[in-house]
Symmetry: C2
Subunit: 88 residues, 2 copies
Amino acid sequence: MSAKTAPQTIVANKTTQDQLRAFIERIERLEEEKKSLSQDIGDVYREATSNGYDKKIMRKLIALRKKEPAQIQEEKDLLDIYMQAVGM
Amino acid sequence: MSAKTAPQTIVANKTTQDQLRAFIERIERLEEEKKSLSQDIGDVYREATSNGYDKKIMRKLIALRKKEPAQIQEEKDLLDIYMQAVGM
């Protein structure tokens, strides 16, 4: 595979230098957008917290909403069994 | 702090139920956008890889571009000293 065999030579000319720079800058821009979204998410959690909602429980709720009801019930049942098994 | 003392009662009426739902849905939308950006980043890395660039080295380069030149040099020097210390 030529893509794998010439890693040292690929950055030797202007065109490939520009190409590499373009890839890097695209990734950096996308990473910036991701960071900005993470901050937005933090802001929503802060707003919710200041309205009396619990962040940890909200996270659990969001995780649960990704699952099927049957899966939730199965995990709940299994957790109950395990808790009983260790005397909780 | 009333925000902390009434966690059980806060979801008891329609208005607060709607409010909680709105917070949850805002977070879910933002998380979706973040996921989509992660996929876009993956796509750029795949495109770069197919053009012969090494993903691991690109990641290192992006991390280095966030640092000051003096910091890069300092870490490089320290790493050299540590490598010598363990006989590398």
